[in-house]
């Protein structure tokens, strides 16, 4: 009897060691690997690039969405821009297909809405904290001490109204400034604040790219990197631009844990305006390096149509999602069929 038991145990051991011999699926699918080879499988494909996107946050929409607020005129003639920002910290967001992570959000998204004003406008932000933790909004820029969002902690269900003059011209980040600060930032409480010069900038196809990452297993290293939250998104959904049209990209680096991030553009160079505060570009390059919350404005035009890569030349980041494509469309329609 004991011997029989021992034999049963050994067979059970074999079952544990070599299971899954039974339920085989006959249908076969194929997918393309990084180096272009085709691989076939009867199982499922694990691929953040080539599978259809199921994620809720839309990086395409975010890319060109600028929020100017409710505009009215103050008695002294200044323009008043009013915004309502609600903070929450209980949302589960699919940050990459199949990966669900608890994000802390301004107005429900990471990054939060891009706030845009013109130099000298009065920006008034009604901040509501619907989260379970304390949060604030700290804007980079010039303002009074009590509008800094550092010492005026807004508790759960609390409110605060920030009001300041839009200064200086450029592109700036805003983020929560409650301790532990890094935790509040990496969970997603950040966004972009753009101050346009009074005279405006030349017309262009404008877009915002927030370089960010997610540490989904809390080991103080990012598991994913992206431009606008979703890894590999713009590689799978190239950003469509026109040949010979001026492109202006507001770039803000919000990556934590890593000392630097960078941005390399293929087949082209760009004029770069650090922080966007100066009207003269500091350099003409295809490669900039950004430390935490460093930011700037890139301007370029493509002379030739086609697909062009842009990515972190810190290749680790690009292989973990921070990579995308510009699809430059030619003006053949106009030249061939146009007036």
């Amino acid at each position: 009897m004991v011997f029989a038991l021992a034999i049963t145990a050994i067979f059970a051991a074999f079952y544990f060691a070599y299971p899954g011999l039974s339920d085989a699926k006959p249908e076969e699918k194929a997918f393309v690997t990084h180096n272009g080879a085709v691989m076939r499988t009867t199982g499922e494909v694990l691929d953040p690039i080539y599978t259809s996107q199921t994620v809720e946050f839309d990086p395409d929409k975010y890319l060109r969405q600028f929020n100017y607020g409710r505009v009215s005129a103050l008695p002294d003639g200044k323009v008043l821009r009013e915004f309502t920002i609600i903070a929450e910290d209980d949302k589960m967001m699919e940050v990459s297909p199949g990966v669900f992570y608890n994000v802390w959000t301004f107005n429900g998204t990471v990054p939060g809405p891009t706030i845009r004003a013109t130099e000298g406008d009065v920006v008034r932000i009604k901040f509501i904290n619907n989260g379970s933790k304390s949060h604030t909004m700290h804007f980079h820029g010039i303002h009074e001490a009590e509008m800094d969002g550092v010492f005026e902690i807004v508790g759960s269900k609390g409110q605060f109204t920030y009001e300041f003059e839009a200064l200086p011209v450029g592109v700036h980040p805003y983020h929560c400034h409650v301790m532990p600060l890094e935790e509040h930032i990496v969970h997603g409480l950040y966004g972009v604040y753009i101050v346009d010069p009074k005279e405006g900038r030349p017309p262009a196809d404008e877009m915002v790219m927030v370089l960010n990452g997610f540490d989904t297993d809390f080991d103080t290293e990012n598991n994913f990197y992206a431009a606008n939250s979703i890894p590999f998104y713009y590689q799978h959904h190239p950003i469509q631009i026109n040949v010979d049209e001026l492109i202006r990209v507001y770039v803000v680096n919000m990556v934590e844990f890593d000392p630097i991030n960078n941005l390399h553009l293929h087949g082209n160079l760009y004029h770069y305006y650090p922080t966007g505060t100066d009207t003269v570009p500091s350099t003409y390059t295809d490669m900039i390096t950004l430390s935490q919350t460093e930011r700037g404005i890139m301007e370029f035009k493509y002379d030739y149509p086609g697909k062009y890569l842009f990515h972190a030349h810190k290749v680790e980041f690009s292989e973990k999602g921070w990579v995308g494509l510009f699809l430059v469309k030619g003006d053949s329609e106009e030249t061939e069929y146009g007036n």
Partner: protein
């Protein structure tokens, strides 16, 4: 009649009532009393059990070893995300396993860290010291393993058996010394097997298998199973042609055979993992080491008639499993089975030790306290230790 019926009912009731209370208690704990348990947060856990380098792919065997179902959503090599396929699918129930195929242009002998990410973003990884192409079962390789198994298992045991005529001619006291020496050798082997089993389980077996308790349970079960059947065998030996020394010799051969299976596994797995230098060490070391196993079989047999055929058969029983071990280790290695086999081997060896000690007592040394027994035991351990340094 009536009295016996009521007493029978009482007997059943007295057995069932406590059981009913037990059921109620468990139902309460998982039902209305669930708060008492305060189960905390159940975290997903997967274990990467095996990584094979097959053609242009890295093939990963993964098992859900946590308390909750998991979804494997991403694969990476050296922390760089790679597109991959998972078969049969990415949803793993408890203890279910899947194969992840990562197309990757790997380089021979380079180290790799393979990672898998589950649905909540937690990443699990396994490091492979040096990539080597997975062994493909073919005749050539199978016969190569057979030759190695022969060198490691059969030949050394046979050489050890050649000491039989010598042991036959010595006095009873010296004979006890050799029996005790056998027990010492075996004790060392038993401890060695357990150590090996614990090491394998520590490296590649998930905590949810309770590896240490698995080793203990399998060892005890195999000890009990073999002890029980050995008693039957020796009893039958008394009435049949098989003499008691042969029966004990057979037990020893089986015990050593199981151990040699484990040694074969180690060699096969080492070659499979591409650590050629390590596998060479194992081959040379085990071969030398196993000569002493021949002495272990020879010692009890020396009191029976010399039967060359039976002796050769026992040598084969003890030595040949090394060949099977090498095949299994090289072609279908799984940490779980090797832990189980090593533990079975340990149990078998401990059973043999008990039989030998019993036999020495029956032969006349009641307290096992003679100088011959004590020194034999000690010398056995020391010899094994010294030869083990070679491995």
């Amino acid at each position: 009649m009536e009295i016996s019926k009521t007493s029978k009912a009482k007997l059943v009731a007295s057995g069932v009532i406590p059981f009913a209370f037990l059921v109620i208690m468990i139902a309460y704990i998982f039902g209305p009393g669930a708060d008492l348990l305060g189960l905390g947060v159940a975290l997903p856990e997967i274990t990467i059990e095996k990584v094979d380098f097959v053609g242009p792919e890295i093939v990963v065997t993964v098992r859900n070893t946590g308390p909750i179902p998991v979804e494997v959503v991403m694969a990476d090599v050296n922390d760089r995300i790679q597109p991959a396929a998972i078969e049969p699918d990415r949803f793993l129930e408890r203890f279910e396993s899947a194969t992840v195929r990562i197309p990757f242009d790997w380089n021979v002998a380079e180290p790799y860290i393979v990672g898998l990410t589950v649905g909540d973003g937690t990443r699990f990884e396994k490091e492979i010291a040096a990539a080597a192409p997975a062994l493909v079962p073919n005749i050539e390789l199978a016969s190569f393993f057979a030759v190695i198994g022969t060198y490691v298992g059969i030949i050394p045991v046979m050489i050890g058996l050649l000491w039989l005529p010598f042991i036959k001619r010595i006095s009873k006291n010296k004979y006890h010394f050799f029996l005790a020496l056998t027990a010492g050798l075996l004790l060392f082997l038993g401890i060695d097997s357990i150590e090996e089993a614990l090491e394998v389980s520590k490296e590649s077996l998930a905590g949810s298998f309770n590896p240490v308790l698995l080793v203990a349970t399998v060892t005890v079960l195999s000890f009990l199973g073999l002890y029980y059947s050995a008693e039957k065998l020796t009893k039958r030996a008394e009435s049949s042609k098989m003499t008691k020394p042969v029966a004990i010799g057979l037990m020893i051969a089986i015990g050593i055979g199981l151990h040699n299976f484990g040694e074969g596994l180690a060699i096969g797995a080492a070659i499979g993992l591409g650590s050629i230098a390590f596998s060479t060490f194992l081959i040379v070391g085990f071969a030398l080491h196993n000569t002493t196993e021949g002495i272990a079989i020879a010692a009890p047999l020396s009191r029976g008639k010399l039967m060359v055929g039976k002796l050769a058969a026992l040598g084969m029983i003890a030595g040949a499993p090394a060949i099977f071990g090498a095949w299994v280790g090289g072609f279908v290695y799984s940490p779980f089975t090797s832990v189980v086999f090593l533990s079975v081997g340990a149990g078998a060896i401990f059973q043999v030790i008990v039989i030998i000690l019993k036999w020495i007592r029956e032969e006349g040394d009641r307290n096992l306290s003679s100088a011959a027994v004590a020194s034999g035991f000690a010398v056995g351990m020391v010899v094994m230790y010294l030869t083990s340094i070679l491995i």
